[in-house]
Symmetry: C2
Subunit: 127 residues, 2 copies
Amino acid sequence: MKNRKIPLNLNCGLDLVGEVLYGKWKMRLLWFIKQGHKRPSELQRKIPDASRRVLNVQLKELEDHELISKVVYAVVPPKVEYNLTEFGESLIPVIGAIGQWGDSNEERLRSLILAKPVLNVEGLDEG
Amino acid sequence: MKNRKIPLNLNCGLDLVGEVLYGKWKMRLLWFIKQGHKRPSELQRKIPDASRRVLNVQLKELEDHELISKVVYAVVPPKVEYNLTEFGESLIPVIGAIGQWGDSNEERLRSLILAKPVLNVEGLDEG
DNA sequence: GGCATAGGGGATAAAATTATCCCTATGCAA
DNA sequence: TTGCATAGGGATAATTTTATCCCCTATGCC
């Protein structure tokens, strides 16, 4: 999301959404914040597969895109809270729809995704 | 989508959807196919920013994930048609919701995305 | 001083995704 | 014979996205 070599396509709604929602952890972040997990450390615990650093970066982008707002409390140790903006809230039903489709088709998706075309499997000599 | 070094996360619906829908042109491909643009050359004309090769690759993945089906006619010059499967059809409302959110917020999104933090602008010497 | 907490971020490496280049094949038209 | 339209794909380069490493802030407490 820095200086791009390849120009952005911002032709249609899908392009625009992609720019703010593409990002491995972004939808999950929005979702968990919506569920009340507002602090960075909580989010990290909710998404242990992502490093703290990565979550920070993606949170920053969500903030830049005005989907979430950040409150920094002047206390020690530091305390930070993220909240959905109204704009971000309006995206929740969309994310909900995506997640629900995934949940509804969980088994099928899982097997499709894990099904790799059989090739060069050791032990399957053809000679 | 080949041999991955980093293991897949398939924890929740969002992860699963991501695996089949992440891909710069995939949602657009599904959408255009739904609208009746079924042949590769038509799709290419609809999405001129993507190369023919790239569309082929993504179409193949959509096919592998059973969201579309492919019909090859034994004619010359070659003729191919893609159609949404029932599974792919079920995804259309979701894509519709995403695109609609983007369309509804087009102006705001466009300015947010294009708004880059001012830094090192030439002509703004600070000394 | 050393440690714990809670949060941040620069630099760089690694991985994944996209794009580019160039080749295949067929029949018809100029 | 070259050119065009149709469709497909291997190999590799370029770009973008994620991940890793390591260090930083500030305060209170033992």
